[in-house]
C-alpha cells in the first residue's frame, strides 16, 4: 500500500439500531486488505464504542478513517454538547447514558476507556456547546 486510503462514514443521529454499520464496513475492508486479525479486532472495538457514543451522546457525526502503511487513524467528530470533564468521562464506570440505553446493554461507562485501551494512541478535543473530536491511532 503506497498511498494512504481514506474512508468516510456519516453516523446517523437517531437510529441506535444502525450503530455498528460503519465499524462492520471497516472490518470487511481491512479483512480484504489482509490486515492482521488482531489489529482488526482492536480497530473494530475502538471504533464501535466510538460509534455508539456518537449516537448516544452527540446526535451522530462523521468518522474519517485513514489507513497508511504504518497505522490506522480514526477521527470521530461530532457537534454534540461536548464533554464537561474528560478526566471523569475516561474513568471506567462513569456514565451519563440514559436508562433506555442501559436497558439495551450499554451505558456502563466502558466506552471511552475501551476506546483508549484498544487504540495505541488517543486524543480527545472537546468544547462545550461546540462538539468533540476523538482521534485514535492503531499501529499496523
Amino acid at each position: 500500500m503506497n498511498e494512504a486510503i481514506k474512508l468516510e462514514y456519516t453516523i446517523s443521529d437517531d437510529d441506535f439500531t444502525r450503530a455498528g454499520e460503519a465499524s462492520g464496513d471497516l472490518k470487511d475492508k481491512l479483512k480484504k486488505m489482509g490486515v492482521d486479525p488482531a489489529v482488526i479486532r482492536k480497530v473494530v472495538i475502538a471504533m464501535y464504542e466510538g460509534e455508539i457514543n456518537m449516537v448516544i451522546h452527540a446526535n451522530g457525526g462523521k468518522i474519517t478513517v485513514t489507513i497508511t502503511t504504518d497505522e490506522i487513524i480514526m477521527e470521530l467528530a461530532d457537534k454534540g454538547p461536548g464533554i464537561p470533564d474528560v478526566k471523569l468521562a475516561m474513568q471506567e464506570g462513569f456514565s451519563t447514558a440514559p436508562d433506555n440505553i442501559r436497558s439495551l446493554g450499554f451505558g456502563a461507562g466502558m466506552g471511552l476507556p475501551n476506546m483508549k485501551k484498544y487504540s495505541d494512541e488517543m486524543t480527545v478535543e472537546t468544547q462545550q456547546g461546540v462538539g468533540t473530536t476523538v482521534t485514535m491511532k492503531v499501529k499496523l
Binding site: 441506535f16 439500531t17 464504542e49 446493554g105 475501551n114
Partner: protein
C-alpha cells in the same frame, strides 16, 4: 462441533439458521453487557446472553462470534430476527438460564 449439532443435541430452538450447518462453535461465552462483550467475546464462540436486540447482532458480527444463543426463552424482536437473516447470523433460543445454557454447551463441546 457444528452449531447445528449443538442445537439438536441440546434442543435449542432455531430463530435463524445462518451458517449453523457448517460453522463450528469452539468455545462458549456469557455476558449481557454489550460493551464488555465487545471487548471480551472470543472469535468462534457460542455467545449466551439475555440481550436479544439488534446491537447484540452488531457485537456478534464484529467479534466474529459463531452464534448467539438467547437464554431464559428470550425471543429477539421481529426487526432483530430480520436483521439476523440479512446478515446470516445464527440465532438460537434456550429455555434455560444463561449459566446452565453455557454449562450444557461447554460440556458438549469438551466431551
Amino acid at each position: 462441533m457444528t452449531i447445528a449439532d449443538i442445537a439438536e443435541k441440546l434442543n435449542f430452538k432455531i430463530i435463524n439458521e445462518g451458517e449453523m450447518k457448517t460453522r463450528e462453535a469452539k468455545k462458549v461465552f456469557c455476558c449481557d453487557l454489550l460493551s464488555l462483550a465487545m471487548s471480551k467475546l472470543p472469535a468462534d464462540a457460542a455467545w449466551v446472553t439475555v440481550m436479544g436486540n439488534t446491537n447484540t447482532l452488531a457485537v456478534a458480527s464484529l467479534a466474529d462470534a459463531a452464534c448467539i444463543i438467547t437464554a431464559e426463552n428470550v425471543c429477539p424482536d421481529e426487526n432483530t430476527v430480520n436483521k439476523a437473516k440479512e446478515q446470516n447470523i445464527t440465532v438460537l433460543k434456550s429455555e434455560f438460564p444463561v449459566f446452565e445454557t453455557a454449562l450444557m454447551i461447554d460440556k458438549l463441546i469438551n466431551a
